[in-house]
C-alpha cells in the first residue's frame, strides 16, 4: 500500500534538491534531477496501482476547513497516469529548447508537475485550488520568461489574466458550496448536496461552466489559447495542451458530473449544441491555418470540444469516453507538437507551404507524423478511437445532434491530411535536402509516446477498468 502523499513528496524533494544545487552550484544538472524525480514518481504510481493507495489527511485549519487531504476519486487514476508519465518525454524537448537558467526552469517544471499531480488527487477543494493556481502561475512564468519574443510575454499575460478569471469563478463555486455545506471536502460536499438550494446549484453550475470553457477551452472563451500555444516555448506548449487543458475537463467531470449532475442533465441539449457548434467552428478555423503549430493548437481545441460534448451529455458512457479521449489526446498532441518542434528546428519554418517532400530525408519522422495524424483522425487501434466512439455512443442516445460533430472530424481529416501531404510528401525542395532525420534519443522519446498511444488504442480496458464508480 502506497500513501498518496508520496506522489507529492517526491517532486518536492526534487525541487528542494534543485534549489540546494543552485545554492551550492555543483552536482547533477537540473534536467537529470527532474528526470530522476519523475522516474521515481512514476515508480511510486506504478507500485500504488499494484498495491493500492492509502488516502492521506492532515488538518491545518479547521475554521476554513483547510486540510491536506488526498484521495483517489472516481476518475483520478487515468489522469494521474497522464500527468505522471507525460512530462517525462516533454523533458527531452525542454532540455533541448531551454538553454538559459536551467535550474529555474526545472524548478517551475517540477512545480507544474507536482501541482498537476496534486490537482488530481486532492479532495480538499482549497488544496485543489492551490495546486491549480500554482500550475497556472508556474506556466505563466515559464511562458513569459523563457519565451523568445516580446509577444510571448504578452501572450503569457493574456493567458494568466484570462485563465485567472476562470480560476476565480471556480473559487466562487467552492465558496458557494462551502456556504451551504460547511465543508471544503469533496466527499462531505457530495454527501450534503441535498442541502444546497436549486438556484445556488444553477449559479454554481454556470460559474463552473465559465471555468471549464476557459480552461479547456471551448469556443466563445478560447481567445487566450492561440497566442499562448503559439508563442510559448514548445515544452510549455506541450504542458499547456497535454496537461493544463485536462484540468478543465477534469473539473467539469468532477464537479459538473459528480456534483451538479441533475443540472447537467437538464441543460444537456443546449450544452451539447454549444459543443457541436464549437467543434465545427474550431475545425473550420483550423483548416484555415497555414502554420503547423497553430494548426495543432486549434486541432487540440477541437478534441476538447468533443470532450465537452461528451461530458455535457451526462451519460456515464460518454463521460468515460471523454476521459479516454483526454488521456489519449494528451499523448497525441504532445507527439504532434514534438514533430512540429523538430521540423521548426531543422528547417527553420513551420509553415506547411514552405516544407515538402521531407519523407525522403526524414523517413522516421514521417512514420511518427503519420502515426500521430492517424491517431488524431480516430483510426481504430490508436488511442483516440475508443474515446470518440464512447462519446458518440453515449451522447447519441440523449442528444442526436452530437453526431453533427462527426462532420467536424471530416473537416479535420481534410486539414490533417493536407498538412501531412504538404509537409512530408511530394517533391523535395532543394534547400531542404541537407536535413537530418531523428537521432536516436528523439526516436526513443517518440517511441515512448507512441507506445502509450498504441497501448490505449489497443487496450482501452486498461483505462476503462479503473474508472470505478462513475
Amino acid at each position: 500500500m502506497i500513501n498518496l502523499i508520496l506522489l507529492l513528496i517526491v517532486p518536492l524533494i526534487g525541487i528542494s534538491y534543485i534549489l540546494f544545487e543552485q545554492l551550492s552550484g555543483r552536482g547533477l544538472s537540473p534536467d537529470k534531477i527532474s528526470f530522476i524525480t519523475m522516474g521515481i514518481t512514476a515508480a511510486v504510481l506504478l507500485s500504488g496501482l499494484m498495491y493500492g493507495f492509502i488516502p492521506f489527511n492532515l488538518n491545518i485549519n479547521s475554521a476554513v476547513d483547510f486540510s491536506l487531504s488526498l484521495n483517489i476519486n472516481f476518475i483520478t487514476i487515468p489522469f494521474l497516469l497522464l500527468v505522471v508519465v507525460l512530462p517525462i518525454p516533454i523533458l527531452y524537448f525542454a532540455s533541448n529548447e531551454i538553454k538559459e537558467n536551467k535550474p529555474m526552469f526545472y524548478l517551475f517544471y517540477l512545480l507544474v508537475y507536482s501541482s498537476a499531480v496534486g490537482v488530481f488527487i486532492s479532495s480538499n477543494l482549497i488544496f485543489f485550488f492551490l495546486f491549480w493556481e500554482v500550475a497556472v502561475l508556474s506556466l505563466f512564468f515559464m511562458m513569459s520568461l523563457w519565451g523568445k519574443t516580446i509577444k510571448s510575454r504578452k501572450a503569457g499575460m493574456k493567458f494568466l489574466v484570462f485563465t485567472q478569471f476562470g480560476s476565480l469563478t471556480l473559487l466562487a463555486v467552492f465558496i458557494l458550496l462551502f456556504v451551504y455545506t460547511g465543508s471544503f471536502n469533496f466527499y462531505t460536499i457530495a454527501s450534503k448536496m441535498s442541502s444546497v438550494p436549486l438556484y445556488i446549484e444553477y449559479v454554481s453550475f454556470f460559474l463552473l461552466l465559465i471555468t471549464v470553457m476557459i480552461k479547456m477551452p471551448v469556443f466563445p472563451l478560447h481567445e487566450w489559447l492561440p497566442d499562448a500555444y503559439y508563442y510559448s516555448p514548445t515544452p510549455v506548449t506541450m504542458f499547456l495542451s497535454g496537461i493544463l487543458s485536462k484540468f478543465g475537463g477534469f473539473a467539469f467531470i468532477l464537479f459538473g458530473f459528480g456534483l451538479f449532475r441533475n443540472i447537467l442533465i437538464n441543460l444537456r441539449i443546449p450544452l451539447v449544441l454549444l459543443g457541436v457548434l464549437a467543434a465545427i467552428y474550431i475545425a473550420l478555423v483550423a483548416s484555415g491555418q497555414r502554420d503547423l503549430k497553430m494548426l495543432f493548437s486549434y486541432s487540440s481545441m477541437f478534441y476538447m470540444a468533443l470532450v465537452f460534448i461528451g461530458v455535457s451529455s451526462g451519460m456515464t458512457v460518454a463521460v468515460s469516453g471523454a476521459v479516454l479521449l483526454m488521456i489519449s489526446h494528451g499523448f497525441v498532441i504532445t507527439l504532434l507538437f514534438g514533430i512540429s518542434y523538430i521540423l521548426l528546428q531543422r528547417t527553420g519554418t513551420n509553415e506547411t507551404g514552405k516544407l515538402g517532400g521531407l519523407t525522403s530525408r526524414m523517413p522516421l519522422l514521417s512514420i511518427f507524423f503519420m502515426l500521430a495524424v492517424f491517431a488524431s483522425l480516430g483510426i481504430p487501434g490508436l488511442s483516440n478511437f475508443p474515446g470518440e466512439l464512447l462519446i458518440f455512443i453515449g451522447t447519441y442516445s440523449v442528444a442526436g445532434i452530437s453526431l453533427i460533430a462527426i462532420f467536424g472530424i471530416m473537416i479535420s481529416t481534410n486539414y490533417y491530411l493536407r498538412a501531412l501531404k504538404e509537409a512530408m510528401f511530394g517533391h523535395l525542395q532543394n534547400k531542404l535536402s541537407g536535413i537530418k532525420d531523428l537521432n536516436r534519443t528523439e526516436v526513443l522519446v517518440f517511441l515512448f509516446i507512441s507506445f502509450f498511444i498504441l497501448l490505449i488504442g489497443v487496450f482501452p480496458s486498461l483505462l476503462t477498468g479503473v474508472l470505478g464508480g462513475l
Partner: protein, 450 residues
C-alpha cells in the same frame, strides 16, 4: 498585572526616550545608539506583554474579542519595520524614535477605543506622529509629501469631528456601549460623515489622493509603516464603530459602503495598471487592498467583520514586506517598472520576499492574501452578494495584470546572469534580509489565524 499592557509600556517608553534624549550629550556618542536599541526593546516588551496579558482596559478604552490579536499583529509589524530602520545604520535622530513610538501607541489605542473622543484622540496621535515621520526623510519631496498629508489630514479630522458631533447630538453620549438608542436621521448623517473622515486614514476613494504622493515622498520603510499599521488602524476604527458600537443594519450603510469600496477597488486597480513607477503602483495596490477590507464590512455580519480583520492583518503584513523590500531596491535606484529586472542583483532574498508578498497581495494561494480574499468572498456569498463578487473578479483580473507584469519584469533570468559577479554583501543587508524572511514566513504561518 493590569498595568503590564502594551499601551502603558509604550507610553512610559516614550517618556523614557524623551528623558534620555535630554541626557544624550552626557551619555556621549553611544547614547544615540542606546536610544535606538531602547526603542526596539520597548516595542519587543510591549509585544510580549500583549501576548501574555492583553491590552489596556480602562474607562474609555476597553478590550474586545479581537483587540489582542489586532494589537499584537500591529506591534509585530511595527517592531520589524523599526528593526529594519535600525538596520539601515543610517543616522537618524531620536525624534524619529519618539514619533515612531507615539504613532504605534496611537495605532494600538485606536484598536481599543470605546468612545468617540478617545478614538479621535488616538487617531490624532497617530496622524500627527505620521506627519513627522514622513517629513523626516532626507529628500526634496519629503516636505511636499508631508504637507499634502497634513493638509488633507486636517480637513479630514475636521470632518470627523463634525460627524462625531452629529452623533452626539442624536445620542447624547459618545460612549460606544450606549449608542444603541440613537435616532435615525443624525445616525445616518453622522455615519456618513464619519466614514468620510476615517476614509482619509484608510485611503478610501475619494479621500485617498494624498496617499500616492505621500507614499512616494517618504522613505520606503516609513511608507511600510503608514501603509500597514496606520492604515490598519483606520480600518480597525471603522470595524470598531460599525460592529461594536452602532446598531447598524440598514440598507443605507450597505449601499454606502459598497459604493465606496467598489469605487476604491476599481479606480485603484485601473490607476495602478498604468503606473510606471513601482512605488506608485504599490501605493495604488495598497489602496485597493483597503477597498477589499472595507467591502467585507458592507455585509454587516460578524463573518464580514472577521473577514475584514483577517484581511487587514493579511495585507498589512504583505504591504510592510513589499515596501521594506522596495526600500532596499530604491536605494539602488530601481524606480521604474522597467528597472525591476535588477531586483535580484540587489538582494536575492529581498527579491524573493517581494515576490511572495506580491503574490499574497494578488491573492494567490497558499499565502494569507488568498485566505483573506477567501473569507471576504465567503462573507459576501453568505449574505447573498454573489453579484458583487463577480464584479470584484474583474478588478482582480486587472490587479493580476499589474502585479504580474511587475513580477514578470523582475525576470530572474537576466538577474541571475549578472549575479555571477559576487559582490560583498553588507551586514546591514543581511539583517534586512533576515527581517524580510521572518515577515515572509508569517505570510504562510498566518493561515492558522484564519
Amino acid at each position: 498585572m493590569e498595568y503590564l499592557n502594551p499601551q502603558y509600556i509604550l507610553f512610559s517608553g516614550i517618556l523614557l526616550v524623551i528623558l534620555l534624549d535630554f541626557l544624550r550629550h552626557s551619555l556621549g556618542k553611544s547614547g544615540k545608539g542606546f536610544i535606538h536599541y531602547l526603542t526596539a526593546i520597548i516595542l519587543v516588551t510591549s509585544f510580549v506583554f500583549n501576548a501574555f496579558y492583553g491590552t489596556m482596559n480602562i474607562h474609555m478604552f476597553s478590550e474586545t474579542e479581537y483587540s489582542q490579536f489586532i494589537t499584537s499583529f500591529m506591534l509585530f509589524i511595527s517592531l520589524f519595520v523599526y528593526l529594519f530602520i535600525l538596520a539601515d545604520r543610517e543616522e537618524h535622530s531620536s525624534v524619529l524614535d519618539i514619533s515612531y513610538l507615539s504613532a504605534v501607541l496611537g495605532a494600538t489605542l485606536v484598536v481599543i477605543s470605546s468612545n468617540f473622543i478617545s478614538l479621535f484622540l488616538s487617531i490624532e496621535l497617530l496622524s500627527i506622529s505620521s506627519y513627522a515621520l514622513v517629513y523626516m526623510h532626507k529628500s526634496s519631496g519629503a516636505l511636499e509629501g508631508a504637507v499634502k498629508y497634513l493638509s488633507t489630514g486636517i480637513v479630514s479630522m475636521v470632518i470627523l469631528i463634525f460627524g462625531i458631533s452629529i452623533i452626539y447630538a442624536g445620542a447624547g453620549t459618545l460612549s460606544f456601549s450606549s449608542l444603541h438608542n440613537v435616532s435615525y436621521l443624525p445616525f445616518i448623517a453622522g455615519i456618513s460623515i464619519i466614514v468620510a473622515g476615517l476614509g482619509f486614514k484608510s485611503t478610501l476613494v475619494p479621500f485617498h489622493m494624498w496617499a500616492p504622493d505621500t507614499y512616494e515622498a517618504s522613505k520606503s520603510s516609513i511608507t511600510a509603516f503608514i501603509s500597514s499599521v496606520s492604515k490598519a488602524a483606520g480600518l480597525i476604527a471603522m470595524i470598531r464603530i460599525f460592529f461594536f458600537a452602532l446598531p447598524v443594519s440598514s440598507s443605507f450603510v450597505t449601499a454606502l459602503f459598497l459604493s465606496i469600496a467598489i469605487l476604491t477597488i476599481f479606480l485603484s486597480a485601473f490607476l495602478a495598471s498604468v503606473q510606471d513607477r513601482i512605488k506608485r503602483l504599490l501605493a495604488y495596490s495598497s489602496i485597493s487592498q483597503a477597498g477589499f477590507a472595507f467591502i467585507s464590512l458592507a455585509v454587516l455580519t460578524s463573518k464580514g467583520a472577521q473577514a475584514a480583520i483577517f484581511y487587514v492583518f493579511a495585507f498589512a503584513i504583505a504591504d510592510a514586506i513589499v515596501f521594506l523590500a522596495y526600500d532596499m531596491f530604491e536605494s539602488k535606484k530601481i524606480i521604474y517598472r522597467k528597472d525591476s529586472g535588477k531586483m535580484y542583483s540587489v538582494s536575492k532574498i529581498g527579491a524573493v520576499s517581494f515576490f511572495i508578498a506580491m503574490l499574497s497581495l494578488a491573492g494567490f494561494p497558499p499565502t494569507i492574501g488568498f485566505f483573506g480574499k477567501l473569507l471576504i468572498f465567503y462573507a459576501l456569498f453568505s449574505s447573498g452578494y454573489a453579484y458583487i463578487v463577480l464584479l470584484l473578479f474583474f478588478s482582480l483580473l486587472v490587479s493580476t495584470f499589474y502585479y504580474f507584469s511587475v513580477l514578470a519584469d523582475m525576470n530572474p533570468l537576466v538577474a541571475l546572469r549578472e549575479i555571477k559577479t559576487k559582490h560583498k554583501v553588507k551586514m546591514d543587508q543581511r539583517l534586512k534580509e533576515i527581517i524580510l524572511v521572518v515577515l515572509t514566513l508569517s505570510l504562510f504561518v498566518g493561515i492558522i489565524f484564519a
